[in-house]
């Protein structure tokens, strides 16, 4: 199994006004390809900071965050942008572009990766089929339910064949019935297509769906166990 994400003595200190806040206080973590990992913790545990660092959206204050063996601290803005194309983000609030249809939202991430128009159109339609939304491809986010929007977001995250999906409370904004459908989809992606998934949540029930649960509290990992 290839090592995809590795955190070594990871520290992150924010300045909240003039007061330094230690969000991460030395985190060590390894994620291998094919994993389905839940990072579980209450708010203020440092899990969101962890998400930002794994997603190469931010840089650590100390320690190393290695994505496929590359330390993100050594990368410049452009290289970080390139790296993020290989990470599939799924956000709590979906973060679709409201003026674009479902298909155009999926195509957007491929157009950022310079894929040709014909190629991305074909792939967007395939992905919508994968997430079971091929009949809604010309609908805008406002015309879709929360669950449908999140499916579009998952399809968008998969568009550029990412090394892993990075999910931030993926069902946090969806009713429980739809949430379990979304979780079934996520599990199916992991089991059938071998997609590596890192999911950040405060919801224990949700975390129990993962293969491995990493518990965080107060900026450190307090437990790391296989489910």
């Amino acid at each position: 199994m290839a090592l995809i994400v590795e955190a070594v003595e990871l520290k992150k200190i924010y300045m909240l006004g003039k007061i330094p806040v230690e969000a991460l206080r030395g985190v060590n973590l390894k994620v291998e390809s094919g994993d389905f990992l839940a990072i579980l913790g209450p708010s203020g545990s440092g899990k969101s900071t962890m998400l930002n660092l794994i997603g190469a959206l931010d840089k650590p204050t100390e320690g190393k965050m290695l994505i496929e063996g590359v330390d993100i601290s050594t990368l410049n803005d452009n290289q970080l942008a390139d790296l993020r194309r290989r990470i599939g983000f799924v956000f709590q609030f979906f973060n679709l572009i409201p003026r674009f249809t479902a298909r155009d939202n999926i195509e957007l991430s491929m157009s950022i990766a310079d894929m040709s128009r014909a190629e991305r159109r074909k792939r967007a339609e395939e992905l919508l089929e994968t997430v079971g939304l091929n009949d809604r491809m010309n609908h805008k986010p406002a015309e879709l339910s929360g669950g449908e929007q999140q499916r579009v977001a998952i399809a968008r995250a998969l568009a550029n064949n990412p090394r892993f999906l990075l999910m931030d409370e993926p069902t946090g904004n969806i009713d429980s019935k739809t949430a379990s459908e979304i979780m079934r989809l996520i599990k199916r992606l992991n089991e059938e297509k071998g997609v590596t998934i890192i999911m950040v949540t405060h919801d224990q029930h949700l975390a129990r769906e993962a293969k491995r649960i990493v518990q965080m509290f107060d900026g450190v990992i307090t437990s790391d166990m296989v489910n």
């Binding site: 993020r84 290989r86 157009s111 950022i112």
Partner: protein
């Protein structure tokens, strides 16, 4: 991101806020339209005046006037536009020019074909019904020489220009015969009229008068009559003018050259001024044209500058709207960066939005400026400010067209630089957190 994708992304952002984009574009439209309208009218006016000048003052013709500063500085320049065919103006203290100096001038250079003296005064004309009208100028010239110097304009529409006129024969311009050019005739060819001149060389002033016979009415000339015949002139034989005005001082001497070659024009001009000890000025078409083009480039710069200010205001409008847009779209920018968009692509997207606004604004502005210029010149031509003597056809040169396009887009881009730069510098983590 590929360039067509950047364009379609930017376009989708503009389409989202149609009214706002339309109003921002309107600012550019107004600025560009003002520039295009003002410059094309100015260009048209310059062309009209230059063609008037070419008609009145051929390139192979020199005009000698008393005084040493006819074209010197602003005062001389201003008098170029003074009506009645007199170009430039001598100062009162300068040495007079006499009618018989034509003989000396003719002998000065083999390049001179002929020269003719012109006497002109303002005066009145009274028709058979006793109605008196002021005419701009009573011009004393040798009819046959004048007709050969101005073969296209000193042409009779009715009657005929006498070759060897008797003292009381005159020729009048089209607007002397038909002052409003609407068929309400003041005099016809073959009428008898009274020519009146207020003699101010003696005190008290005396109205001198004599009865003349209209031998010919000239064809309509139009324009100002910059040198040469004009529609408002009354032409009397030179000898009659000398007698009537009691003076043999010429107001100008027209010199016809063998060629319009610059070297010939310059050497002859110099020969004449030297001969008269720099007490006369020699006006050539090229000198007047260069003066005109200097004046017009100053006017263009001034008017263009005023119009450019409105475009500057439009630029500030663009900047304002872009900053609002960037704040509204902070989260969107965060999403784009999370999806792997580079900072410079974010910059391009915002700049492209301003290019689209600038381009659309410039194109609509050029079209509406052109329409505006034509409407304005139609109004001016219909007895407006300048009167029907002059028609202006606006001219849109490729320079103005491309310049307006580049300026519109340029201003838009320059004012979008700061907002676009700020958008590109947003940190993804903070942008994503933005509500």
């Amino acid at each position: 991101m590929k360039i067509p994708d950047v364009f379609s992304y930017s376009f989708s952002a503009i389409k989202l806020r149609k009214l706002r984009a339309a109003l921002t574009t309107l600012g550019v439209v107004i600025g560009i339209a003002a520039i295009v309208a003002l410059l094309s009218i100015t260009q048209g006016l310059q062309t009209t005046i230059t063609s008037q000048l070419e008609r009145g003052l051929a390139a192979d013709t020199l005009i000698v006037v008393p005084g040493s500063s006819a074209l010197g500085g602003a005062a001389g320049g201003g008098e170029v536009f003074g009506g009645g065919g007199r170009i430039g103006g001598g100062s009162s203290s300068s040495a007079p020019l006499y009618v018989n100096y034509t003989n000396q001038i003719n002998a000065l250079s083999p390049d001179i074909v002929t020269s003719l003296a012109v006497i002109q005064k303002s005066g009145y004309i009274q028709n058979g019904s006793g109605v008196i009208r002021q005419v701009t100028t009573i011009v004393g010239v040798n009819f046959s020489q004048y007709a050969s110097a101005y073969s296209t304009t000193f042409v009779a529409a009715s009657g005929s220009v006498p070759v060897n006129p008797s003292g009381n024969e005159i020729v009048v311009g089209a607007r002397v015969s038909d002052p409003r050019l609407n068929g309400t005739m003041f005099v016809h060819a073959d009428d008898n009229v009274s020519i009146i001149w207020t003699n101010n060389t003696i005190v008290p002033f005396v109205n001198e008068t004599y009865t003349a016979h209209v031998s010919a009415v000239l064809d309509r000339i139009g324009g100002f009559g910059l040198g040469g015949p004009s529609d408002t002139g009354v032409y009397v034989p030179l000898s009659q003018a000398e007698k009537f005005f009691g003076s043999d001082q010429a107001d100008e001497i027209i010199v016809k050259l063998k060629s319009s070659d610059a070297a010939v024009v310059n050497s002859t001009s110099k020969a004449i001024t030297d001969y008269f000890g720099n007490q006369v000025s020699v006006i050539s078409a090229t000198a007047v044209q260069s003066l005109l083009s200097t004046i017009f480039s100053t006017i263009s710069l001034f008017l263009g500058g005023i119009a450019a200010i409105s475009l500057l205001v439009a630029g500030i409008g663009i900047m304002n709207i872009m900053i609002v847009s960037l704040i509204e779209r902070t989260r969107e920018i965060g999403i784009l960066k999370a999806l792997g968009m580079k900072s410079r692509t974010v910059l391009y997207i915002f700049l492209t939005e301003s290019v689209i606004i600038g381009l659309i604004g410039a194109v609509i502005g050029i079209v509406s400026g052109w329409v505006l210029a034509n409407v304005v010149s139609l109004f001016l031509g219909r007895g407006g400010i300048i009167g029907s003597a002059l028609t202006i056809t606006p001219i849109l040169t490729p320079e103005v067209l491309l310049g307006a396009l580049a300026f519109g887009v340029g201003i838009s881009v320059i004012f979008a630089l700061y907002p676009a730069w700020r958008a590109s510098k947003l940190k993804p983590v903070e942008a994503l957190r933005y509500e």
